[in-house]
């Protein structure tokens, strides 16, 4: 059975952006990359999968059950999300933050949730160990470096024990070394479990290198789905990104590698076309 099944899902913000008639599926053990240019609808798709937004059309099935009909707690036991950036408002300790990942498993009695029983603590510890952050357990989250904080964010998601893991540009704000650390931990976790991992990424080459399949979004629509070598082609990418590309093979892995070709005319064209996103990026 498919873990995740997305059937003709559409969602439009008032600004007109969003996703349109998106259909795909992901099976257990699969690492699916979602790629595409700015404002392609990647983040919208992720919000739909985690029920932050509800589809205006179509439906999303997780383990055969409609997301719209699942309670948020039940959904959070099935889907864990690692956000792009991870800020905690008050000086919580790392262990406390990771234990927050156990909230969906809490026995929510009348007096609120208890998310720190023995099993919760075991799972939180395992997650800290898996991400190599056990030594940070009693540190304050707001005192960590960006790389450490992203690892803690990943640990919090792993503690959730959800079969589906969604990652939104988990390495976007990290330096090269920490990108490597986060990615290798992520891949190790994925290989160990039978879970489904969905990696939203700007980085085509990173996604092509590690993902089993890729989903190419542009303008809110699915432009291609398939193995990296089927998706990372000039025929798919050039209309999606609006610029010419060259594709070659990675000498070691044999995976496709892509590079945009810039010329004066296109530079002007993309700049005006993408100005809203430039503003958006500046804000965040």
């Amino acid at each position: 059975m498919n873990t995740l099944q997305v059937e003709g899902v559409s969602f439009r913000y008032r600004t007109g952006r969003g996703v349109e008639d998106v259909t795909f599926r992901a099976s257990p053990g699969e690492l699916l990359g979602v790629v595409g240019p700015n404002s392609a609808g990647k983040s919208t798709l992720l919000r739909l999968l985690s029920k932050v937004l509800l589809p205006q059309q179509g439906r999303i099935l997780i383990e055969g059950r409609d997301v719209a009909a699942l309670s948020r707690m039940a959904l959070a036991r099935r889907v864990a999300v690692v956000p792009q950036e991870f800020h905690v408002a008050f000086p919580f300790r790392v262990a406390e933050v990771v234990l927050m990942g156990r909230y969906p498993h809490a026995a929510g009695g009348a007096w609120g949730a208890t998310n720190d029983d023995a099993r919760d603590r075991t799972m939180a510890q395992a997650a800290l160990k898996a991400t190599g952050t056990a030594h940070l357990a009693s540190r304050r989250v707001d005192e960590l470096s960006g790389g450490e904080r992203q690892l803690v964010s990943l640990a919090r998601a792993l503690a959730q024990e959800a079969p589906i893991l969604l990652l939104d540009e988990p390495t976007a704000h990290l330096d090269l070394r920490h990108q490597g650390i986060v990615l290798s931990i992520l891949l190790a976790h994925h290989r160990e479990g039978r879970g489904t991992t969905i990696l939203v990424s700007h980085d085509l080459n990173l996604a092509a290198e590690h993902c089993d399949r890729l989903l190419l979004l542009a303008g809110g629509r699915v432009r291609a789905v398939g193995r990296p070598e089927e998706v990372i082609t000039p025929e798919h990418l050039e209309p999606a990104y609006g610029c010419p590309v060259t594709v070659e093979r990675h000498p070691a892995s044999g995976r496709p590698r892509v590079q945009g070709i810039l010329n004066q005319r296109d530079a002007r064209g993309t700049a005006s076309q993408h100005s809203p996103e430039v503003r958006e990026a500046g804000r965040s």
Binding site: A89, P91, E96, Y103, Q125
Partner: protein
């Protein structure tokens, strides 16, 4: 093994700090009963409190039971209510600077009480529950306005939050001033005195209403404490972890406005308690709301009892409004928090 050793205990150590705070509250209460124009020794206080069959002739018993005890209880409940309101607003806005005074919610409550006064519902013959209801309505109106004004793309940036709090506070204060300008002199005196914040002995019914509202507030905050913790991750992440964010925010919001209204309607504007007390409690116990709710209640009660004690004694026999003491403590702390890097970052 290292990891196990360094994994902080969350459950086990919860009781001890709370017991310490209970002790602090009892000491504060004892001091409030001892100190005053007539100093009373601890043993005498105990005798006056627990001696069976109230001796109406004994002046010490009368002072302790009829003057100082009701005042200390009022101070304790008002302090707890304002401190919890601050904690609630801080959790919702993810900002340690949020407080009924800073957000202008106190001014909204004052406006509500002033309206009740104009309508002749306040005063010695009025029903305290009705006045509290007016104060609650005013507080809720102000709080909703502040959040509506401050919201930018579903976020509450610190600058717009503080600015809209100032604007809302000024607006409702102006409304109060406008109304007092039309009031007769006798009524005016009452309103002005009350606006300055005072802990004059309140009637039994007033205390009962305040106690009831405070109990409701404590129950709501205690029930939502774990979910309020998750709000610290941001609303989207809280949703993704299974929290019904809107429902949690709404109930905490209403509860915070309710306790603010009850405190303001009985004791007037007493500023910054909701800022000082949660901050101190966080320093002692960390940011976990499950521990903070009882701690902030106890510490708020002890704090306002001691502040009232200071207000009564520093210029004795004259009495300062207790709001002066709390503002002298709160305003510098606000500046420190605002200037500190973390206070600013926390609002991102």
């Amino acid at each position: 093994m290292m990891a196990r050793a360094s994994f902080p205990e969350a459950t086990g150590r919860r009781a001890l700090p709370i017991l310490c705070l209970v002790g602090a509250l009892l000491i504060g209460l004892l001091l409030s009963l001892m100190v005053g124009s007539v100093p009373i020794a601890p043993r005498e206080v105990m005798r006056a409190l627990f001696a069976g069959g109230a001796d109406a002739q004994d002046p010490i018993v009368a002072v302790v039971r009829q003057i100082r005890l009701p005042r200390a209880i009022l101070a304790g409940m008002v302090g707890a209510a304002l401190a919890l309101a601050g904690l609630g607003f801080q959790a919702i806005s993810r900002n340690p600077l949020a407080d009924p005074t800073v957000l202008g919610v106190s001014s909204g409550a004052s406006f509500g009480v002033t309206i009740a006064t104009v309508l002749g519902l306040a005063g010695p013959f009025g029903n305290p529950a009705v006045v509290t209801l007016f104060a609650f309505a005013g507080a809720l109106l102000a709080a909703v306005s502040v959040y509506a004004i401050a919201q930018v793309d579903g976020r509450l940036p610190i600058t717009t939050l503080l600015l809209s709090g100032v604007i809302t506070g000024l607006f409702f204060t102006s409304c109060v001033m406008l109304i007092t300008a039309f009031l007769a002199a006798a009524e005016l005196q009452g309103v002005v005195f009350w606006l300055m914040g005072n802990l004059m002995p309140a009637g039994g019914r007033t205390l009962a209403v305040l106690a009831l509202v405070l109990a409701i507030g404590v129950i709501v905050f205690a029930r939502q404490a774990a979910r309020l913790n998750l709000l610290a991750l941001g609303e989207e992440q809280a949703l993704q972890l299974g929290v019904e964010v809107e429902r949690v925010k709404r109930s905490a919001f209403v509860a915070a406005a309710l306790v603010t209204g009850a405190a303001i309607s009985t004791a007037g504007s007493i500023g910054f308690v909701g800022l000082i007390v949660p901050h101190a409690a966080r320093l002692l116990l960390g940011p976990d709301n499950r521990r903070l709710v009882p701690a902030v209640g106890l510490l708020g009660a002890a704090f306002l009892m001691l502040a009232d004690l200071a207000a009564r004694t520093v210029m004795a026999p004259a009495e300062l409004p207790v709001g002066v003491i709390t503002s002298f403590c709160g305003a510098p702390l606000f500046v420190c928090l605002l200037r500190s890097r973390r206070g600013v970052e926390a609002s991102l």
